[in-house]
Symmetry: C2
Subunit: 273 residues, 2 copies
Amino acid sequence: MQRTELINLIKRKRSLLCVGLDSDITKLPACVMQSEDPIFEFNKAIIDATLPFAVAYKPNLAFYESNGIKGMMSLQKTMAYLNAKSSECFTIADAKRGDIGNTSEQYAKAFLSTEGDFNFDAMTIAPYMGEDSVKPFTIYPNKWVILLALTSNKGATDFQFTEDKAGLRLFENVIIKSQQWATEGNMMFVCGATQATMFKGIRRIAPKHFLLVPGVGAQGGSLEEVCDNGLIDDYGLLINSSRGIIFADKTEDFAKVAAEKAAEIQDEMLNYL
Amino acid sequence: MQRTELINLIKRKRSLLCVGLDSDITKLPACVMQSEDPIFEFNKAIIDATLPFAVAYKPNLAFYESNGIKGMMSLQKTMAYLNAKSSECFTIADAKRGDIGNTSEQYAKAFLSTEGDFNFDAMTIAPYMGEDSVKPFTIYPNKWVILLALTSNKGATDFQFTEDKAGLRLFENVIIKSQQWATEGNMMFVCGATQATMFKGIRRIAPKHFLLVPGVGAQGGSLEEVCDNGLIDDYGLLINSSRGIIFADKTEDFAKVAAEKAAEIQDEMLNYL
């Protein structure tokens, strides 16, 4: 999906919402557990229910890989289902990969290639290994690399805030340097909602890039703060909620309640759009 | 595998060699391509041929994921084959994962759990997200986390060498801080052979830890330099070669030639052990 298409999708749906499909099999409602592929059945119901309110879906690969081959087959089916609605949503492989150049090429092929089993629009990447680990994700037309910058977890303070001699923190170095490797048309940054007070500073060094913002909801980030400090003319934000939507209810009404939660967040977003 | 078992394995085989199973399907010898699962057939032949000379095997997951579900099935079969010889070799999932705590738990379950589809001894992890992204990999008994510190690729210079105000480089901060999260009995560090001149400095801050050393062979690192600067009383090194062994020959003799290449490296190691 091109940047202009993504912007139009946000404009049309009046939503910045990304639904995180962190479909942990141990947390699924009992009513889907009898089906042949509970994770896919769950995802399908969640997608159908939330699609009017969401512009993006982000399966975190850990929750699929932890079920081994079966889990990857659930992911494949989920992506086939989402790709059949490709004009309705942007898809993100939350994979946090990154390796030496020739190996990153293989990961890019695995998740971004239109000929592969998954065909995502975008993929999250860890920046630790530098340019040649990131570049292979930038060469697929209309596909995106989403680089970890400032993450939403407690451990973010361990290294991401380390200041260099010029006073720049590591996450700032990542945002600045990586802009030589791609454009705002094929690169985004992960910036956690729990760090929303930092978003003004981030906008000074990345005024045009989309930010993928996890951490609203279960992790405690504030939607208002994120929007106040992060929104730009072209929106520039995809705001993720996972557990707060998909596991809001564990009864047979799970999809209906997920839709209500997604609608609530989208409704709150209208205040800022 | 416990540290003492690994040390005994090295002592018995007189080898530090780790064979990287980077089994790119586009580079396999023609003679395996007719079989039902070419990657597994190739790996099996390579393992059988090199096992006398190698103490560890390291499939890089990118080369399996790039074949989608089929590739993950090849990996599963490869691991079943290796786990049947578990006293003969240490196994490493070169996965470079890392995510927020509850998600890293899922990755750890996927690759380290004895009940999962893979059951590796160890797994490589990217440190960018800090403590809670690493800790879940340290809780499985007799399993190891191998943290990226100083990688072998060109992009290593982009962030890993950034000095903080105290003059410590990022990779040094990673090595120092992460020692609060695990012990030398369940944590190793990735340090590229192309950076072997740095190994003396690394030994000052990690005197007892095993280092997993990629970059000998195709990437140009020197075995002599790595051993001179990195060996300790308990060995403390696993030295990886991938392409230089597994793709040394593309004829029907591929496994025989791989064994010769592995034997050559093991023979050179005898000079330093």
